[in-house]
């Protein structure tokens, strides 16, 4: 009896939590599909009786798709840079002896801990003075730098957990050092690489504050900035804004669902083994 009650409580708790999480998203989707005159209808329609894609078309008419493409290409290039530099450094830290190793580790872990926002203002002024403000490379560079410490940290741990003997066996088999890394070590670190890639994508795609302060021409703008820009001047067009919320949410959520195993694994392994 107690067991049944417990199960019931568990199930209803789980259901409630799911509704609290998914309900707001469903409401955004519903609003984005309603014609403007029904958006403020009382009582509200939860499922639009006459769904329309007008708000999505409006976003396209205003050129929001270009910001979508910008966001995507910034995120992908940041991830590629961060993975390349981060995994090489992670491998070196796991395998090679080098001067001041603890200091190097401290720099990576320290910069991972301090959020980039704390140094955003001097970064802006520095970039203005260096001529790096508002260029096509500005945001990929910044996002890559934000993600590199995490990539180093997580790949180093994985590389270190791959036995050296495996690598040596490959060397004895006549592989070169780089072949050994490519064929033996890298596949072993795949979960770490995917976790870093997914984290890097989420970080870059979801950022607003860096993008809004470091870039200002419309051609370089990211999706969140374009959406906030949408709020002003015309009054608030909630239908279009919610359409924007939906399209801004789909890529990171798909990315998260595809790589959730590695992301969850990355964070929970890190915390358990740490």
């Amino acid at each position: 009896m107690m067991k049944l009650l417990g199960r019931l409580a568990l199930a209803s708790g789980g259901l409630l939590a799911a509704v609290l999480v998914l309900g707001p998203l469903a409401w955004a989707l519903s609003t984005s599909l309603k014609p403007t005159n029904l958006i403020f209808a009382v009582p509200p329609e939860l499922i639009p009786s006459a769904p329309s894609l007008d708000h999505y078309l409006r976003l396209i008419a205003e050129g929001v798709q270009w910001s979508f493409i910008n966001s995507g290409s910034y995120a992908v290039s940041a991830v590629l840079i961060a993975l390349l530099l981060g995994s090489i450094a992670g491998y070196a830290l796991a395998r090679f002896d080098m001067p001041a190793k603890p200091l190097v580790m401290l720099i990576f872990v320290g910069t991972m801990a301090v959020p980039s926002f704390a140094v955003l203002l001097p970064t802006q002024l520095m970039f203005v003075n260096l001529g790096l403000f508002n260029t096509w490379i500005t945001l990929p560079l910044l996002y890559a730098a934000h993600v590199v410490p995490f990539a180093v940290w997580i790949t180093r741990a994985h590389f270190a957990s791959i036995p050296r003997e495996l690598e040596q066996a490959a060397l004895i088999d006549g592989y070169s050092r780089w072949e050994a890394v490519w064929k033996v070590v890298l596949p072993g670190a795949k979960p770490a690489l995917l976790a870093a890639a997914a984290f890097g994508f989420l970080h870059s795609w979801n950022d607003y504050i860096t993008a809004t302060t470091m870039v200002d021409t419309p051609g370089l703008r990211t999706l969140p900035v374009a959406l906030i820009f949408f709020q002003g001047f015309h009054g608030r067009d909630w239908g279009a804004l919610m359409a924007g919320v939906v399209i801004a949410t789909i890529p990171p959520v798909v990315m998260f669902l595809l790589f959730r195993r590695y992301l969850i694994g990355g964070f929970s392994d890190g915390s358990v083994k740490g």
Partner: protein
């Protein structure tokens, strides 16, 4: 390198030394690109910010060295202290809500088996979203006009629309709830993993000893979960202390400064009012508080732990 390697033992020790030197060089070379990028973009600005904080810098025009003026005017301004206090309120208020919720979720998820991992995935969806997008979404939900979702739910209960975001006493709690909505599941992942590390035998033994559920939680779960809890608390503290995007999106620091945290003050002073000298002084103060928090947690946790800045 030394060509006069005549004696065999000498040659061997030489080659070991040079091989060691070679790997050190290789290691340095491999780490250098990542390290330089991180130093240039994450470390250097911190020093540059300190330099700028000693100058009168307004609207991109540098009017010269002013010593510690920006700091003294900041630290004698009661509004700045209000902002620090509100940052702490936001940080610890969010922690107080997020950690118990995450713990509850983790305990439930452990018990649900397959459905548990499905639920965890669902709960994590908001964490994958952009904070500013989350703010927009909730601004729409909380809109105090008829037809808004929150207002409609209240009207079913025969209540008038509530000004969640414009009422000075409600704005901060609302902000906390929205922040926790986005982030608590992240804490739940780590706690779920932590729970998985606790040997089940302990519970069986405790059951044999006749300990009740609450006793078991107090005597086994909590102490053994402590390391994971500490990690969760440290990661969330830093993340909440630096939260600014949700505030920009939802309340803009108001009403009547009631949601002006130190992070928002930095944003407002540096990027809106363009008092960039003072803004950098706030950035330095924020940076130092972050370092203090991190150092404190590193002491508590024993070893350096990473934290994704999201």
């Amino acid at each position: 390198m030394t060509q006069a390697a005549s004696a065999a033992p000498m040659e061997r020790s030489h080659s070991i030394a040079s091989a060691a030197r070679a790997t050190r060089r290789a290691g340095t070379a491999l780490v250098a690109p990542a390290l330089l990028l991180v130093i240039a973009i994450n470390v250097l600005p911190a020093f540059y910010g300190f330099y700028l904080s000693l100058r009168k810098l307004f609207f991109f025009s540098d009017e010269g060295f002013v010593g510690l003026d920006n700091y003294t005017s900041l630290l004698t301004d009661p509004l700045a202290w209000d902002a620090i206090w509100r940052s702490l309120l936001f940080t610890f208020g969010s922690l107080a809500l997020a950690v118990p919720l995450a713990l509850l979720a983790a305990l439930g998820i452990r018990r649900m088996g397959k459905f548990g991992s499905l639920l965890l995935t669902v709960l994590l969806v908001p964490w994958a979203m952009s904070p500013i997008v989350v703010a927009l979404l909730w601004k729409w939900i909380l809109l105090p006009s008829p037809g808004g979702l929150a207002a409609s739910i209240l009207s079913v209960l025969n209540l008038p629309p509530a000004d969640f975001l414009t009422n000075p006493t409600m704005a901060m709690p609302t902000l906390i709830v929205v922040g926790v909505w986005r982030t608590f599941a992240f804490a739940a992942i780590i706690l779920t993993a932590g729970l998985g590390q606790i040997p089940q035998d302990l519970y069986r033994a405790a059951a044999v000893d006749g300990l009740g559920a609450i006793e078991r939680f107090r005597k086994i779960t909590l102490p053994l979960l402590a390391p994971s809890l500490l990690i969760v608390v440290s990661m969330l503290t830093i993340s909440y202390f630096n939260e600014v995007q949700t505030i920009i999106g939802l309340t803009g620091g108001g009403p009547i400064r009631h949601t002006t945290t130190l992070g928002f003050l930095l944003y407002h002073t540096g990027f809106v009012e363009l008092d960039q000298g003072r803004g950098n002084a706030i950035a330095v103060v924020m940076f130092l508080i972050n370092m203090l928090l991190i150092a404190g947690y590193i002491r508590l946790l024993g070893a350096p732990k990473g934290r994704p800045a999201s």
